[in-house]
Symmetry: C2
Subunit: 202 residues, 2 copies
């Protein structure tokens, strides 16, 4: 029952709740082994009820991936594009993307790997969005190189390495771990910045 | 038909061929969507024939993961344990693990994430083996710290970051890409070493 003091959840709130719950179940049981029934049950809807929100499992997976990429657009790509200095832009990308995984959990990040389960048309769309993000990061490293600040390291390989470092957070970070989210964020950022910046000359 | 000049494949050779083929199909179609029939067909065995090698799909997944961890033991952990100097040991781990993924492809590395599909007993075994590898890497970073060579970075977080960097190779590296395997290896190693080593003081 909705709390009197909170506004009633909108259809968008309910849809996001379905995406997050479905992502959690799909990560725990595997995408193929998860049924629309499992998801309906977990969010307290009938099987007919859930089809009001989403028309099938592949469409749901695509919707979850699109939602995850929307969040990357909004929380990472948009803010980073407004940072002119490439070193600061790189720091913004690493911090904001890592922070998002630490804050909301890694399930949707993990599901972004399940490309095989998409229809070819949906796969092309998700791949193009991942590519746009990759390019932002690679161009940032190329801008650093132009300023003489990039270590002797290939910008494309370094981009993949940074993405591997950040997305792996979704596999290992636990809220009840030894370090706070803020501490983990600090160490991930240091690692990535150390890895690609040329040490200050002396 | 076996080539006269080559020795006939042993049962071990055939088993490894089944593991690699199964890993490739499971990565392409998803573990759950892959049937024992798909695998039998791909390796040219009847359904009865494949059960001579392996008694079911979960056992096959566990066998593939165990095989992947055997290779890590043999190619990475064993040689690294024989290197006394921690900086050289770290370089050995990064090079040998990356090289293995570049040489044999990333399918078995990707399958090592599918922990949810294992029985609890199998999951415990694989988790303990991953943990032993994690500990080797973390202790290596702690040894570097004792020598004053580790940057100001938490050894556990840095260990996860290095593992994320290496294992992500399995998702992006293509043999027909712009860089040779040797070049990719060089850039991955530089990235990881730069990330964790304190810059030489001046």
């Amino acid at each position: 029952m909705p709390n009197k003091k909170s506004p009633a959840p909108t259809k968008k709130d309910r849809t996001v709740h379905i995406y997050r719950t479905a992502a959690e179940i799909m990560c725990r049981k595997g995408y193929e082994a998860t049924s629309m029934n499992d998801i309906a049950e977990a969010v307290g809807l009938t099987k007919a009820g859930i089809y009001h929100y989403i028309s099938g499992k592949e469409k749901l997976l695509f919707a979850i991936m699109s939602y995850a990429m929307d969040m990357v657009d909004e929380d990472v790509i948009g803010p980073a594009q407004r940072v002119a200095d490439p070193e600061e832009r790189l720091r913004t990308i690493v911090e904001r993307h890592s922070n998002r995984i630490l804050e909301v959990g890694g399930d949707t990040t993990i599901l972004l790997e399940e490309m095989y389960a998409l229809t070819p048309a949906h796969r092309r769309i998700v791949r193009a969005r991942k590519r746009a993000y990759f390019d932002l990061l690679r161009h940032t490293l190329e801008d650093l190189a132009k300023q003489g600040k990039l270590a002797a390291i290939d910008p494309s390989v370094a981009t993949f390495n940074i993405l591997g470092t950040i997305t792996f957070l979704s596999r290992w970070y636990r809220e009840d771990g030894r370090l706070t989210a803020e501490e983990v964020l600090w160490h991930v950022r240091e690692f990535a910045m150390n890895a690609v910046l040329r040490p200050a000359s002396c």
